[in-house]
Subunit: 254 residues, 8 copies
């Protein structure tokens, strides 16, 4: 309902003063004492709230998981520990836990659309890759996994480049020097979301080196998210994948 319409209805008595005020003042979040759940996000942005579990207190976590599950029939948490899995099982007995990525979820069946490639330089990057891949799937996208194709043996990548090029968006995940993003950026048509990881030692400075590499890439079509932020990359990739799969084409701003 737009403002003019609301005001007209109010003037005509079709809308009470209370409802009219509600329209202008509506909170659009759930006050939970220690937190304010952004219940408007799904409508505003098209994504339900996902829970970043790390360092949350057990009691808080239980309340939040339960509230979101009750409201939506599904729930999805990232960076969960095994202990947190045990805690949430008390309130959602069939919650599922993926130890590699730390994803804790209970997911509705949904039809998947489009295609997002998730590519890693090494095997140590797989934890971040699975956080990205499972998030994409939760948000309703198909995933193509291509792991361990770093530039120290570039023939492994070239062998897979056709498969990667079929995706609407490529999530590229690499630690150490992070050169993989530049090489893929020079070979594919669609956007590359680069995720630096904290894999490495010494002058990798916990991912800073890979982050700088990706931000400075000489290749085009690359944008970057935070170190180890598989979830964030999946979110952007899903936005792009959804746009690519819309039936009647994109907006033209009018």
């Amino acid at each position: 309902m737009e403002t003019v319409e609301v005001l007209d209805k109010f003037k005509n008595g079709e809308l009470s003063l209370e409802d009219t005020l509600h329209f202008f003042e509506e909170k659009k979040y759930a006050e939970m004492n220690f937190a304010k759940l952004d219940t408007d996000r799904k409508e505003r942005q098209g994504f339900a709230e996902v829970i970043f579990c790390n360092k949350k207190a057990d009691e808080h976590l239980k309340e939040i998981f339960k509230k979101i599950y009750d409201d939506n029939g599904e729930v999805f948490g990232t960076r969960a520990s095994k202990h947190q899995y045990e805690v949430i099982k008390e309130v959602i007995s069939d919650i599922e836990y993926d130890e590699i990525s730390g994803i804790l979820k209970k997911e509705k069946n949904k039809e998947k659309i489009g295609n997002i490639a998730v590519v890693t330089a090494g095997t140590a990057d797989i934890a971040v890759a699975e956080e990205a891949a499972l998030t994409v799937e939760y948000f309703g996208g198909n995933v193509t996994r291509v792991y361990d194709v770093g530039v120290s043996g570039i023939h492994r990548l070239l062998d897979k480049i056709d498969v990667i090029n079929k995706a609407n968006c490529v999530i590229t995940i690499a630690g150490m020097e992070g050169a993989l993003a530049s090489v893929i950026g020079g070979l594919v048509k669609n956007p590359v979301i680069a995720v630096p990881t904290s894999v490495g030692y010494g002058a990798s400075f916990d991912g800073l080196s890979a982050l700088l590499t990706m931000i400075n890439s000489c290749a085009n079509g690359i944008s970057v998210v935070n170190i180890d932020n598989g979830y964030g990359a999946a979110y952007v990739a899903t936005q792009i994948n959804r746009l690519a799969c819309k039936e009647n084409g994109g907006n033209d701003g009018e």
Copy 2:
């Protein structure tokens, strides 16, 4: 032509040894002595090569502008100085120069598609914004400019949020502390490409502060390019805009 097909044609004598070898060895770049122009890029990635003018020698610049203009009937350079404008006018007399952004271009008429919003926090960010906007237009996209809506007076942004939300992609440009990206990230549906700028002083460290802000954003849907890299943001935004405008929907990887 695929490998099997080529080999069959070669065996059948439909293809000469020379042509067959050419298929496997084809250079796909123009050797220019001091440079190797990537003439394959348009086919491989859908974008013609753009010239980063900064610090290129006059003679080199002339040759490159001329070669690309002769091959494509249009040419586009970024970070050009006024002096370089004078230099290029000698070989392309009606080249156009935009002093604010440093864009140097001769552009074919082309139909624009979709819509990309280019949003700045302050007026000092406009140079980067115009680099982005003119690049989007050169690559065939419509642009909505929304300038000077930084968070120190957030009502200016809220007043424009509906316009911004109509774009397929939002390029958000901010220096100093760069908080604008997070606020927009929390309000729009489509991807936000964040561009930190070197605007600021003291502890802004020439854009490092804004870059860190954007990489750490608590909002979803944000990915980041290099400091002052308006061109790079425009490239990614164009990729997204094209996907959004494709008639028959996105790939599903099969």
Copy 3:
């Protein structure tokens, strides 16, 4: 007593040589072997000494808590561990411990004045927020808590802005990219004390990113304290709140 007065009294025999010397040489601290308690601080600055418990040896901590409690009838420590709580209970049996903030205190009843808002971006910032809030209360100020109103869902903040604007000073607490300070800075009349927190991961560099954001804020009226320094923010906010509540207006320097 001013110098002239002292000297006159001394000349007139109203003051002994000993007392006069005492006036000029008075130590104004309690020598405790391993420490020199600044017993003059309350007079000089209006605040009794608060104990930073972290890393202090058990025996030292007991002595200091006891000495301050005996002298003042109340005592207040920050960054205390649960173990330290057990230790101090041996000397002050009814000492109180707040596990979230690590505050360890025994507090006299006191009338509270004015109003200070303590605002956080997320739930993980609450530990720092409670350190600030409890310190304000110990120093005699009223607190308004507004938690979890970060910019990724800015409607939650806008909904609370009227409440926040009623405070004499706003303590704004945020980790990750710390954009909340800028947004509040653009919306309120009174000073904002910004506290970056170490909440975040990757390129947040344990609070450095939030610190830079806040120091570079494009909004006016913001000054910054150390990462996670809820106590320091509370101290400044209390100074401001007291000035705002003084009956006969501020100094004019004459």
Copy 4:
């Protein structure tokens, strides 16, 4: 006018649909093509907009100075060059320029209230100090200047401490290692706003060292603004000074 009142008046026909919509949609800024002047700031925050001149184009600067001067009868710009002074003289013939601080202003007579001390460690810090002092005066506060009292000769500071302690707020300005802020913080009752400056060489890293010193201060009551940000410190100090001078005491949040 509050929302309920507006709606009632609308229902009663006292307010037209247009005015009612205006209430909800009112822009509160001046659209100037290249900029959006925040005309609401004075009402919202109590301060008129001040112009950061550095790097602004001559034509833009003239328009902005003229618009603000015409609207308010006074105007104030920081970080102005001598060239910009010449430019603005064309539109405001009796504009005044202070070469040391780079302040460019035309100021109404106004009564000054309260007292703010502006203290520097060395003579090289005076440029920043005058930016602060002139800003405080423009915003209507009295200033006490105390220059060149750095800690290498601490008797100079101790000699002035009584004067400094009479201020409602102390702006402390220092480069190099910035230790002055800590010493003052330990001696005064009221808030200290610390301004690190880029004065120094070598490992001062253009003010970073002084910034870190001030953020880590062991003294209480210190909060920090950006390197060389005299204006920002003056803004916060003015907020505090106004609160201290309010006749009927501070808010209590109710």
Copy 5:
């Protein structure tokens, strides 16, 4: 014996070929398989080798302690853990351990000369201070300890400045912002060796902030050693103290 003298003696048969070669080739270290003890150091530099215990293997540590003790009748180790104390007790039963500083030593009685002041800003700096003080004493110097006189309550320092000024060298130890070094540097006549400590949190970056403060000090007469390096400060201070106590004055280079 100088080269000319050796050669003459060799020619005259006063020195054998073996001894002459020995003069030119002498190793001056003890080969210990995993280490090469610098047995020449005492002659060359006037100090016996001290053992940095941290991270050394138990077996290696035992061998080194024993060898030095057997050769010199005393031995001194820094940064030793309680476990290492137990280990060394097996080979030197009456070795002494100071838990605060981590010093592990068996020391001959020796007459002390001169005077070195060891001054700390806070109580948390005492571990480093004791490392310095015990080292000075081992190297034969008198120590004056002045602890907890940081600048947040500067009257404590001013009360002790006469005592400090009697030392030939002042070791100043401070964490957080490290301002104490500058204040002392401005008040004393003799050299100040500044030791930044890792005491602090947030933007103290484990001592980096204090290190920068001290290196940039506006006061004269200050030089700096590594973070927490009490031993290194004691070494330099001992060199200075010895020079100051030499009976027949300093060298004049001839």
Copy 6:
């Protein structure tokens, strides 16, 4: 005169109230409007004030040079430009200027004592070395210059080590990686003051690399001053040289 004595004299009428107050309030600095000259420094610390010329205004510089020259019969400035030399010549016609070091001075004849070695790694470090050497000489010490003996050809250093070892203190000056300090530190008996210089390029980060090298030195007896701070090193070295040359030995703190 001590406090007790003053008070007694005051009581007995030997001292007027004015003089007594003067004793307690005496300024000990020269108020110069824009500056407060620390006229007490010579008495307090044994060194007259030296002028850091860089960035001082011409008029200020003239006043300060003249005042110090009139008071002391000599004057010494560092980091002076050729322009400043011309300016000062107007007030002190026979002022001398050393172009390499930027020293501007008029010096009394004085007898030199002791010996300080000034050693550089390369020829580019000579500017800093001469700042140090001339300062030592102004403060009354003898200097031994040993230039261009960096570790890339270590035989040059070994050839000079006997000469260096005769000094009471060694100022070691090096840019790039600054390894010279460690090598000298391992070879000499007396204190080494290390001065990192901004000589170098790339990852030397304007002297940061050399600074870190020197602070982390594995050799003993090294303390460090700011990048390019030849003056500061000379000050400390002079303190040490004076102690070494005192006739009746050092203090013992009693």
Copy 7:
């Protein structure tokens, strides 16, 4: 087989379509589900794949060790924990583990060629040195170990310089300030590979200081690998040693 030859053979029927395709499409890696072993590396680069054990899952590690051992009859892993040794023993019962370096290997007898010197500054650098030395030996080179010859007692190094100068390549390993590399670089003829280590504390910043020292070295002939990267240095040194030992001299590019 070169391309022309393959095509000719295919045309002549000497090569099947399948084999011809295989030539162009051959994968040259072993797909292992979670990893893609670069089986081509030995042929392409002359080195078999070595396993970086740190953080690899037990099951993955077992599979990889077994596959490489089965294929090559030997296997070599770096950064292995004692737990991983136990795990691998289950599949390769006589695997050998070196606790100091963390090397886990089963090695064929092989003739060693040439000579590589491995030199450390201190005893704490031996872990990295042994990683280097054992890797060189696994790759077939002779090693000369020279440990604990850091610059604080440079005579130890000078005593060994003849031995070091006999090597085809010198691996120089140092933490703290890392000056050893510069000194050796100035004394030897052949290339120096410098390895900074994380040995040190305070401003060594976990090896960053040593890394900067080595990158900025004033000596020639030094190139640098990552902090603690003994393996990487050994790889480069082996390449050089092999070139030096080739019978018929180096390539001339024709």
Copy 8:
């Protein structure tokens, strides 16, 4: 002549005392007042001294060029400005200047040996590449130049990889993110010397990003020199090339 032999000859009167002393004390450098030329370097390390011209005074530069030219019949300087070229022409009239690299040289004809590849990512890296290439040639090596083959169009590199693989050593030069080094490292047999360049903007931080990339490379066989240090890379590459071209194979350390 070895020590024993010298001593025997001295004893037998075959060698004078003067010559014997000379053997032990020989300076092996040319004392030039402001500099100490390392005339021993050619014998000790096999390379004549090269002049780093940047920031050297004109008079000094003239003397050094002349001395080296007179001694060796050739001379080579790096980082020379056009002005310095004019200056040196006064003493060596036919000196040659290469404007791109800043090389200033007069070179004897010499036979070149072996082969070193110099590879750049972009055209802006050519200045550094020519510094490397001309240095290699001066030191007597053949050079293969391969320019502008960065990873954004990797087919250009793959097309040249056979040529690159024929070199005994590959100098890889890249700015921005520097990914080229990793890709080449994964493809060639012989050592790769990586040179980061300051080409780039924003978060390239003047070459720091490329430096970190190269130091962290996931590929083997890469070692790194300073940012823009073409000369340093050429020196190491020449050492390797010489070893590869030695007729009778490498040392085995015996």
